[in-house]
Symmetry: C2
Subunit: 219 residues, 2 copies
Amino acid sequence: MKHTHAEENYLKAIYMLSEKQESLVSTTAMADFLHTSAASITDMIQKLHNKGLVIYRKYQGVTLTDRGKESAIKILRKYLLWEVFLVDKLKFGWSEIHEIAEQLEHIDCDTLIDRLDHFLGNPYCSPHGIVIPNADGKIIDKPRWLLTDLSEGASGIVSAIKDDSVAFLQYLGKRNIYLGAKITVIEKIQFDGSTDITIDNQYKINISRKITDNILITL
Amino acid sequence: MKHTHAEENYLKAIYMLSEKQESLVSTTAMADFLHTSAASITDMIQKLHNKGLVIYRKYQGVTLTDRGKESAIKILRKYLLWEVFLVDKLKFGWSEIHEIAEQLEHIDCDTLIDRLDHFLGNPYCSPHGIVIPNADGKIIDKPRWLLTDLSEGASGIVSAIKDDSVAFLQYLGKRNIYLGAKITVIEKIQFDGSTDITIDNQYKINISRKITDNILITL
DNA sequence: AAATTTATTTAGACAAATCTAAATAAATTT
DNA sequence: AAATTTATTTAGATTTGTCTAAATAAATTT
């Protein structure tokens, strides 16, 4: 099923808002999220209802049908993969990528996004730590830990970073720490809380507690 | 100056059509190019005229103003760089990239395209051999030769390929020949017209006349 | 429970981009 | 040069997505 840009924005918005809360998504919540008027929301929601993409009850709110959810997840997948591309390959900072990825998510080509996924090394989650649905639309929730909480000898993959500041990003870049890098904990130094690690079994460095507190690891 | 998607498509179309011929671009030529009706073309052209992007004379045809040309070249630059991305990084074949790049060319972000350019290694031209305008909109025309016409000892950069067939692309991939690769002619064999070359001063191989006839080289 | 405030929907309008059918201009043929 | 064909434009309609202002429903306050 194909959708217009606007439809895609609405579907993704409903999906994201309904992830945060149990109840139906309200008109105002959507108006707020999409920076548009409540009247426009009602209009569009009714169209989506007629197309069988959402279930809508007047004055109550809206929720996705299975078909709607499937589409929403596809769009989210595209959005998140483009975010990874922008940060990982084009070295954009966290703050700049949202707008661009919101444009890129509408590019319509089935093979494109799977190739992009492969090109990026099948990342587990976006720079902001949101899990990327796989090609089948499944969201597999791996457990994640702070690098701080890994024990000596353990290793895992850098899957997200909690701090978005340019300074932190530059630090990570300089130390060859990137999304998808394999980190092994060599030794945890009690004295100052710092940690000796290796990156990709290559570089051995020591990083402070402040750094390990901001790196999320999956296995 | 910002444009709608449709406006961008028209500007690029006018630019490309007027590159091929001297005279004004006709309504039918554009209708043909954009797969739309002549009536729609007239409508849009009049709007572009009112915005000062084209000069239009009823029944005569249309040409770009300086402002229109500037915009058109920016769009073309984006289109071509995305084409390089798709072929070089995502390993798409020639035939598949046009549609996708036509979508990607409308992504609006100044820094994005310059970073992409850098990421791709500032390619000189698209896979189809069309010169990519630089960030200032300048089109610098370097001389190009067929690999066949290089003399022994000469070297240059693979800048385009004339044959788009999958078979040829696969051949090149297998031989480590890619856009931007450095090729040095070691020896030209009179007997069968084949050529001994090195790629990136590394691999030494022999390629037939049919191959050298389809590779364009810049210095 | 009535009054008021807030949320939501409806009605009507608008801009963008397209279309078809009819009208008109330009080019070509006879 | 008149007739015909082709190219182009105009007129009017349609779809999509948005808006504002007015109407109505739901929630909250008094």
